[in-house]
């Protein structure tokens, strides 16, 4: 069938608009990356570029000359790994029993769980709970509260529900306990889902700055995101408050600021290809019976 001219015009418009939007998602990163290597003069004079005229490693050397950022990086890494593992433990162990329709008391449990989707205690009561547990300035405060997302729990529960029950039944008949069935039959079948949600939780922990803002006062415990905020936004006078590391408020080194942004972005972009492989599927499992 021949296309009408309107149809062709629309296709052209469509292609261009999507292309422009998509390029706005990468151009800022490329610019920041270029700036982190570029000489100071170039950043101040040229409005936009993605290939620096000269390549300097000065700003990266500067970052590593103070322990602040490398330490924050390690803190974030620790919180991300231990957080994602803890969260998967809570999510998998709770989702499996909830996926069994014959479980006595299941509806009560599910009611308790889904209610938290529409209502929550809010920031201050949450803070008081953490405080009375004695978690202020403890890494527990940065790991435990986020270790079970209701939404993720329900999606994983739906996934378990879709698994063929016959396999589990035959394992039970052969004398396998419910725990054994879960560990030896169900978990090995769920590897794609486990990968998806481990990555989701990991990204959540890596990007989180609110927990550290609320529950820690000791800046040596701060994860990368909170330190980045301090360096870029507060040193920029964007938010009133004191800065804690003189090294980064010294001469307004634009290239250093850009290198700091790169430092905080690269880990996410590094796992993005793995994430992308999984998250579409992860969302679909949830969409089947949301």
């Amino acid at each position: 069938m021949k296309k009408s001219w309107q149809s062709k015009l629309f296709d052209m418009f469509n292609t261009v608009v999507l292309g422009v939007f998509a390029s706005t998602t990468v151009l800022p990163f490329l610019y920041v990356l270029a700036c982190s290597f570029a000489p100071e003069k170039e950043i101040l004079s040229k409005p936009f570029f993605i290939i620096p005229s000269e390549v300097h490693l000065r700003s990266y050397k500067y970052i590593f000359s103070s322990p602040t950022l490398p330490r924050a990086f390690l803190v974030s890494l620790f919180i991300t790994i231990s957080g994602a593992l803890t969260a998967m433990f809570f999510t998998l162990t709770m989702a499996y029993p909830l996926s069994k329709k014959y479980l006595v008391g299941r509806n009560v449990l599910l009611g308790l769980v889904t209610f938290t989707l529409v209502f929550g205690g809010g920031m201050i009561p949450g803070f008081l709970v953490i405080k009375s547990l004695g978690f202020i300035n403890k890494y527990w405060a940065l790991i435990l509260p986020g270790a079970l997302s209701t939404w993720n729990l329900l999606v994983v529960k739906n996934f378990f529900q879709e698994l063929p029950q016959e396999m589990e039944d035959s394992a039970r008949v052969d004398g396998c306990s419910a725990l054994g069935t879960f560990l030896r039959i169900v978990l090995p079948l769920s590897m794609p889902v486990i990968a998806t949600f481990t990555l989701f939780y990991a990204v959540g922990y890596w990007n989180d700055y609110r927990s550290a803002l609320l529950y820690t006062t000791n800046n040596k415990m701060w994860p990368l995101q909170l330190v980045l905020r301090q360096i870029i936004l507060m040193a920029a006078g964007n938010i009133d408050g004191a800065t804690f590391d003189e090294a980064y408020t010294q001469p307004p080194l634009e290239s250093v600021k850009n290198a700091v942004i790169v430092f905080g972005t690269v880990p996410i972009l590094a796992v993005y290809p793995f994430l992308q492989k999984h998250f579409v599927k992860g969302i679909m499992i949830g969409a089947i019976k949301g």
Binding site: T24, M94, I124
Partner: protein, 316 residues
């Protein structure tokens, strides 16, 4: 006769209870598995809900949760009569409203546009790129915004090159809202398309084939087949969205607000933080938070009723 049937009923009940007990015993491991997650829910979700009670008290750290005196609705009346209330309410609703009318349709439109792309490699490339911002933290996004929009940033360099005066995007009350909505659209539009693209992929191809035979052009196919097929998905997501209409993202607004744009940037979420964590007015800020969540519940239920009244399935 009556006694007898009552006896049978009791016997049946006992039998049922016995069956239940046996069932529980058989599934003992399942109950043990539930314990860690259940404890998590109790400690981190339900204890804070119980803690909401301090909104009706005058909380004092020395007297503690139980020792602090009850004050009824004092915190609420204090809040409603405070000069901040009107400003917070307007700021919160305005940002929510703009996010709803600009941010909600954006992924629908983008999904429909992606759906019309015939070159698969182009579609896949676009998708790969537009999903990225969803995974980038607000701190990084605020930093990028700073780099691009500060007085010597990329945008202002172009404005200067055209001979115009620099625009103080980051510190002006006029540019704050567009900047916030722009950030949200940039971050979430691409990721939001996933669910609509799935709905679009589920449309029966035969419908289009039949439409072509009947002489429907591309626009007619879009209007009579594509759009009606994803209407349900759009409505479901709209209802879910209504419940969170007043949560305009603490993480984002806290980073973007500063003393120069406070007149438009202060919203309920940020105010709760400032009053509660920074100034220690725990009871007052809990009352503010509770007021916000209650509006959210009312909105989610009423939009659900509305959707049902309009003949849609709703979410509960």
């Amino acid at each position: 006769m009556a006694e007898m049937s009552a006896g049978i009923k009791i016997k049946n009940k006992r039998k049922k209870q016995g069956y239940k007990l046996r069932q529980i015993k058989k599934d003992l491991w399942l109950y043990i598995l539930v314990i860690p997650g259940l404890l998590h829910f109790i400690v981190f979700k339900y204890l804070p809900m119980w803690g909401i009670l301090i909104a009706f008290k005058d909380y004092n750290a020395y007297l503690g949760f139980f020792g602090s005196p009850w004050v009824g609705f004092k915190q609420f009346t204090d809040f409603f009569t405070s000069p901040e209330f009107g400003r917070l309410f307007v700021n919160t609703l305005t940002i929510s409203f703009y996010n709803l009318i600009f941010g909600f349709p954006a992924p629908v439109i983008m999904a429909l546009m992606l759906n019309e792309i015939r070159k698969q490699w182009y579609k896949r490339t676009i998708q790969t790129l537009v999903y990225i911002p969803h995974f980038i933290s607000w701190v990084i996004i605020a930093s990028l915004t700073y780099t691009l929009f500060n007085s010597q940033g990329v945008i202002n360099k172009y404005i200067a090159a055209m001979g115009n005066e620099a625009v103080p995007f980051l510190t002006s009350a006029d540019t704050f809202r567009p900047l916030i909505i722009g950030q949200t659209i940039w971050k979430e539009t691409g990721f939001g398309t996933i669910i609509y693209l799935a709905a679009l992929a589920g449309i029966d191809v035969q419908l289009y084939e039949a439409a072509v035979i009947d002489g429907a052009n591309r626009f007619k196919q879009f209007w009579h087949i594509t759009l009606p097929s994803i209407k349900g998905t759009i409505i479901t997501l709209l209802i879910l969205r209504m419940g969170h209409i007043l949560d305009n993202g603490f993480d984002q607004l806290f980073l973007m607000s500063n003393s120069l744009n406070r007149s438009v940037s202060e919203v309920f979420d940020v105010y709760v933080y400032t009053m509660g964590i920074t100034r220690g007015a725990f009871s007052f800020s809990t009352a503010v938070g509770l007021f916000k969540s209650l509006i959210g519940i009312v909105l989610i239920y009423s939009s659900n009723r509305l959707a049902k009244a309009a003949g849609e399935s709703g979410i509960f």
